[in-house]
Subunit: 357 residues, 2 copies
């Protein structure tokens, strides 16, 4: 707690501007006066004003231009009236800033020039210089200044997911090389995941110190692991990332896809809020977590294409299940699909905000 | 039972040639004298002798040339000494034989020329003429004659997975259009899945009547559904397929990826054996099924790349967990990856067969 206490009381971490927002109240498990809602991947690809801004700018380039990243972050807040902004970035940004040859290829995802597969490859990885994170902190600071009482959520990818991109060299359905490395050379795996955790922890902490009111760790591919393997190979490294912001007075959300079997382990990695995908009900998730933490989720993104009546009816069902948890922030069970009609999201936010809480 | 009883006693369905095989004993939950093992996708892409045969023949073309399909089916039995053959085919074959414009594109998967997305699209689907299945039955019959006391497993894709290819037009990670159709137009969805179920049931029954000693229904994408949605939208159609062979005295295996939450529902769809992927232990799976059915699985395919010592040690752990189920057939938790070294599989079969049971 030393460092937080050392921050001045008017520092964004301590100034309390977002403390009474519905998002933070729900993340703390307190009563809300309005149901909070935001959408994973709300900033970016689904918005025409985003596509306009990105016309001549590469994905990772846009993440390190503070004004541009901040503008993209703010677009969905203005358009939809959501209860939080989440910093526009990409989980590979800290790897890129450390000097890794990685790019986001449209229609593919992250592609790594030289995959990392041996102990020597891992030993050669460059440490991230915290100074390289200045554009990220600057983007977050611009957002915080603009957002006023609306919280900014800081954002990072979990070591398992990020390391899987480094090992496979790109997106992969089965993560065969990644898991083979875990199984065959656990020390090499741990060294790689520790390197990722150090870089990602700096990335997340930079956002928090710039004034993010909460953080979310995304472990997109964790659902490919058994509970035993998650606990052994992934959770300790995610815990290292979350520990890097645990001295700050901000909620820590932990989310993965297909992780219904992993929820208690994801909480135990140091999360104060657990994100749930659409495969299990929030009531079931809350039972598995024994009511210990607030939940976030979990509208099936496919419902965004099913018509307003069906979407809103399902949303009411999710809100009802969410009341069983100590707190509930409505979200999707996965990111906003690229071809989502943004008006569907805007109307959904209006509908949610009209509900009595 | 009428039709079975009407078959002559020397018909392949009734001749008992494979009745005392380790595979069928384990599928029936009886004591085995040797641990049975086979591999999903053992026939095909991982074998050089397969790639040689397929050099100038398209994937779906190879499935409807009886001698070729039979030869490909038999290759892994000869090479690895596995305890079962599984008919070389593709889950889209019955759709193709019904007249759907579908092809298997290398590196992509099934691609459908004209996606099926409306009630009118569904109404226009052509019914499969059972006579079109003659090459499939012929391939199965050749295999059965060659295999002697080694069982042939018949093969089909489940309606949810197949319908998702028809709706999306190809492989998809999230099945957004498929699930949107389910949610928005359940009658159209049910009509589509019923059409698939009719075609697939004929395909599976043709293999059984040609002498397959067991059948397996693959619902590759079922793990993308919640239990509630699986039960409502997928299970009834899978049940219709399994019911089409329920009058025959052969085990019915039901498998999907990421289906740890769905196992009892998959059993209740009419399976006598449940396949388990690598995400949960066989002991956990058996607990969820309350010890009611034999299990099949569940080596993580990534272990095939982790070195023999690690692979064999994990295999022993899986065999130990499998002893808790009423019967256990060793398999992978998913298909053999294309770049698997076939010698790893051969040595694994030898190792498994050396174990005391």
């Amino acid at each position: 707690m030393t460092e937080t206490n050392a921050l001045p009381s008017d520092h964004p971490v301590n100034d309390g501007r977002t403390a009474s927002s519905p998002l933070l109240a729900a993340y703390r498990g307190e009563r809300v006066h309005r149901q909070p809602v935001w959408f994973m991947r709300q900033a970016g690809r689904s918005l025409p004003e985003y596509r306009e801004l990105r016309k001549d700018v590469g994905m990772l380039e846009s993440c390190v231009r503070p004004e541009l990243a901040a503008e993209i972050t703010l677009q969905p807040v203005r358009r939809h009236g959501v209860d939080a902004a989440i910093l526009f970035s990409d989980i590979v940004v800290p790897l890129k800033l450390a000097g890794i040859d990685v790019d986001i290829v449209a229609g593919v995802g992250p592609v790594v020039g030289k995959p990392v597969r041996t102990a020597a490859d891992v030993a050669a990885l460059p440490e991230l210089d915290p100074a390289a994170l200045a554009p990220i902190a600057a983007a977050a600071a611009i957002c915080v200044a603009e957002l006023g009482s609306t919280p900014l959520i800081g954002f990072a990818g979990a070591p398992f997911t990020l390391a899987s991109y480094l090992v496979e060299g790109g997106p992969s359905r089965e993560h065969l090389r990644t898991k083979a490395l875990m199984y065959a050379e656990p020390e090499t795996w741990d060294a790689l995941a520790s390197w990722v955790a150090r870089a990602t922890a700096l990335f997340l902490r930079a956002q928090a110190l710039a004034g993010a009111s909460a953080v979310q760790l995304f472990d997109s591919w964790a659902g490919g692991l058994s509970l035993a393997n998650y606990t052994r190979y992934a959770a300790p490294h995610s815990a290292a990332v979350l520990a890097a912001v645990a001295d700050l007075p901000i909620p820590r959300v932990h989310f993965g896809v297909g992780t219904g079997e992993l929820l208690p382990a994801m909480r135990d990695a140091g999360a104060t809020v657990v994100g749930v995908d659409h495969r299990i009900g929030l009531d079931v998730a809350n039972d598995r977590l024994a009511g210990t933490v607030p939940l976030q989720g979990n509208i099936d993104p496919a419902l965004l294409f099913a018509g307003q009546d069906v979407l809103h009816a399902h949303t009411l069902d999710i809100l009802a299940r969410g009341t069983q948890a100590p707190g509930h922030v409505l979200n999707l069970g996965h990111g906003v699909p690229p071809d989502t009609d943004p008006n569907v999201l805007t109307r959904l936010v209006e509908f949610v905000h009209q509900q009595r809480v």
